[in-house]
Symmetry: C2
């Protein structure tokens, strides 16, 4: 792509570094910003820089936070004795968006994956054990992606927590709502048969 | 979408204002930036703000420019007596990327479209006429999108330029390279039949 302005070219190159944004999309975004009011673009730029420089990670659950403790941990209306263990911040947002969970989280910051060189020590697992030890945790809910790495991580953490008297669960796995049996993979279908539920439990709210 | 940090939420909302970027994509982009080094995000932010505040429009052709005159108009190696008339900056970049054109441009800043309330006065048409008058322009090439608005705009500008001795052309219209006849619309097919070329002219470089 040939530009007649290095200011434009630099801006396009910066946008094109973002994941899933190619040169053409980057150009479209930059030309859009070029049409906006200068103050609006200044605002856009400041919000992004401020987000990166001021955002913190909750000292208790490692979720993103505006201060030392995230708004979920700081909320006394939430059941602090229930911890939902997730891989990353995106999962926290996904679960929060369902508005069905009223406990707290613990963000591992990844998942055990020896092939990618990620071992338990790189994840926030020790801090989870300390947290369970210190707080009166009653239930741990694993909400990890249903794959080999997720299962390995659950197995590892469960071992670490076996000396505590805890209720340990994992989110249900099965056929997605709206999914079709014939397109489900064998593993999912087999597990959802094994873990079949009494029909009276199967109620949509 | 529920966020536990207003810094994160604000950044996602800013990205989601961009065209074609939904909330989920915005979140993915912001979480990507969150993982980058603080200096890199600062750089991203500065480049965008600088682009908007410092970019200029060429006083001669209305292309984007780093100074008063764009790098194409300032380039003495380019044929200043040939002007390619385009709708917007994106078209300049598209044509420049072919590396097949060695003249200059004139960016109209839009196209005559009464339904959208865009008349000739809102476009850089007077400046084109002055430019042809003042400079020794030899050829005008219209590179406008082949639709009713494009044709109307060509017709209008051509009328304005009829008293000058100029070679006025428009880019060829026809079936795209790699396109299929059966899927071409009737108008395109009809025009490409009318404007058929001797086979000896049809050479791929």
């Amino acid at each position: 792509m040939q530009f007649s302005s290095s200011l434009l070219e630099n801006a396009v190159n910066e946008f094109a570094k973002l994941p899933g944004i190619g040169k053409k999309t980057a150009l479209r975004l930059v030309l859009h910003l070029l049409k906006q009011h200068e103050n609006d673009v200044q605002h856009f730029s400041e919000i992004i820089a401020k987000m990166r420089s001021e955002i913190k990670f909750c000292q208790r659950c490692f979720n993103v936070a505006d201060g030392d403790i995230c708004s979920i941990c700081a909320n006394s209306m939430r059941k602090q004795e229930i911890i939902c263990v997730v891989e990353n911040i995106r999962d926290v947002i996904a679960i929060e968006s369902t508005q069905q969970f009223n406990g707290t989280y613990h963000v591992l910051g990844g998942i055990i994956s020896p092939l990618d060189g990620v071992g338990p020590d790189q994840l926030n697992i020790e801090s989870l054990v300390h947290r369970v030890q210190k707080e009166k945790t009653e239930e741990i809910i694993f909400a990890l992606n249903p794959n080999i790495q997720g299962d390995t991580t659950i197995y590892y953490i469960q071992k670490k927590l076996q000396h505590f008297s805890l209720h340990v669960t994992t989110i249900a796995r099965g056929i997605s709502f709206g999914g079709e049996l014939e397109y489900a993979d064998e593993m999912t279908l087999a597990r959802s048969l094994q873990n079949r539920l009494p029909v009276e439990k199967y109620v949509h709210h």
